[in-house]
Symmetry: D3
């Protein structure tokens, strides 16, 4: 297991309930800057992201945000409730609709699985549905988290 | 479908063969800078990534790279062969082992599915295995791509 | 008044008590990357920040972090409790000791004033004391916030 | 004392006169990029800064720049006259009016105090008044500097 | 000699022919973000780049991109064909026309010299002509490269 | 002509003398962060810059800074004397020795040509010699500038 994303939240594995939902509305506007900066970090200078002229000739008609970037931003927004959690992996990430420059995303999460893992952590699957300001779904994801147990290590 | 990652490659869907493999060895060193910059782009300031003191108290003993960042960098390295391709989604991303500051990653890909999609694109699943300089697997991923057909739109 | 820093907290002005304290221990390691990136954003390429050779000849003996940067990072860490708050200003910011590359900061806040402001907001002064991993105070600040009232606008 | 901001200026403490003023007109346009980059460095992703939709619902009607960022940029612009100076602290920072994306700031400084400090440095208070292209004051600040004496250390 | 720019290309010195040409059309849109980020990396906050108000009063009437930035971006785009190459230097860089925010550049290269250098490398001069979407030449450059020989070191 | 680099200097074309020299000693340490950030801005992820493992196998034995980056940083450091100047071009840039992570550069300039250009500007060639902390020359450049005349436009 690996990516740790400790947050200032106050919930332990025992507090997580199957079916619980959260929504962070209008959480972040995806800007041209985000796209250019993400290209710089990831190395992905695909022309649909960084060339307006090339993008005009695609079906999108304009530059679009990298799916992985929208995914990363959304995950951060939706994960601030746990005392301590590690990212175990992802299933079923789908880039359902393009995110254009200036779109603002809303992040909705639902707990779709709660399972034992080991003495220290429990396994939680948090399903993400990311929408834009036109209420279109742009991304779905099943994020598998290992969430700290309240009495871990005792 | 959505994320477009056009590359300077020369291969169309018809050129892709089931089972073909690629390796880009020692492709990129994951630096403290990458981690700090990625926090800035994603907004993920989880303390396992940005606090050395907090990280010392975890099982890792030091800061680790965000899994999504390693994933994004690896995908960029492994995708430079197509004339035009869109990222349809991902299955089965697993963060198998931590990536520490200073680790250098090698990216191995294998085509594990080649299927018709529509008149313009074919569907390809490219399986990623990312290893570090100690030959440990750090990440796996099944990247679903829509790859342009040679005679698309004719 | 101006800078808005809405956070995912759940506290209104009425919930704030004089004397309440918070500590976020080992919140963030100040890296060389932070210093270089902050130079790029602020334009401050003072050589005590960006030249190791020049810094060696000062009393510090090495590069130090810009005080304003430490201040900005600490403020962000200490402010995540309000439903909605605006930054009204700062008094008495003092850069008490240098922050070196690799130092990890702990952020302590104490509410030192709670006053009426208008129908929508109350005025709160949050005193910051930032320490390093050697328990030295590096920065103090009195941050004046306008915090949303529970029944604002009714 | 701590933050050092050596500049290519040629003035020592003895050259500084009470009441001297400087203006750098139209010094820098505050862009969406600055705001996004500053969020990344400070960690402040308050939605008034990074969500256009959320910002529309505030009294500002649009995203605004973080006050600390405007402060940091203005300080850099106004400090290029000293041979060597350290930032001792700030008093009375007030965010008087919002700075919107695309606003261009003018930086005016006036020396409001000149006092002995020790054998090496003198104490100077430089009062900042930052205005936008509509001649509105957006920020004030009293920056306390320790400025090198001409014969320091002799 | 010094800057190494190894690329995923497959061409050795022996494969390079005098007069060969390449064009990468609509390769990248130069954004406000690129200009602000480049200022941060280079330290060049010249007001023609970062102040819209100051730029209005020049003959250009608006902010322009730093010539060195356009040069750096163009070089990267035009160099992806070699197995291994080092940058030896540049002659005759000329900033022929301004690049404005939102312009998209096309990169054309022509090999104008092919010469022996030593046992490991050959010397190639690659002439760059960078144009914008209005077919105006914005930059020319003669890039001197040392390109790996096929049997280097044997 | 194109790149404008207005600076806070006070010198006009008439003030520039053939043979005048300037040195900014220990001006900036080239960090891993600079290299990673420059890769992000330029798009140049050549493995000699971003892969420690690949770099070990070259003659350099470690990662080196991109020559164009060192050039851009040095130019900014050496140009702060003019009231207003435009970058016309460069001749004879040579990357004489590698710059490694942690090296600190000194920038020396000498005016090697002063010529009339038109009624508004004069033409100045400023020869750069960049050295490291071991007194090795790492870069030379002849920077052609158009420098504002004192009575331009009268």
């Amino acid at each position: 297991m690996s990516t740790h994303t400790q947050r200032s939240g106050d919930r332990y594995f025992e507090d997580v309930e199957l079916g619980e939902e959260r929504t962070v509305a209008d959480a972040r506007t995806i800007t041209e800057t985000d796209i250019v900066n993400y290209a710089g970090v990831s190395g992905d200078f695909g022309d649909i992201h960084v060339s307006e002229e090339a993008a005009k000739e695609t079906g999108f008609g304009q530059r679009i945000a990298p799916g992985n970037m929208v995914h990363a931003i959304a995950e951060t927004i939706g994960i601030d409730w746990a005392v301590e959690a590690f990212s175990y992996g992802h299933d079923n990430i789908r880039f359902v609709n393009p995110v254009f420059i200036g779109d603002t995303i809303t992040v909705h999460t639902e707990v779709v699985a709660v399972e034992d893992y080991d003495d220290e952590f429990g396994r939680v699957v948090n399903k993400y549905t990311v929408t834009n300001q036109r209420d279109e779904t742009v991304l779905v994801d099943e994020h598998i988290l290992l969430v700290k147990r309240r009495n871990a290590g005792e």
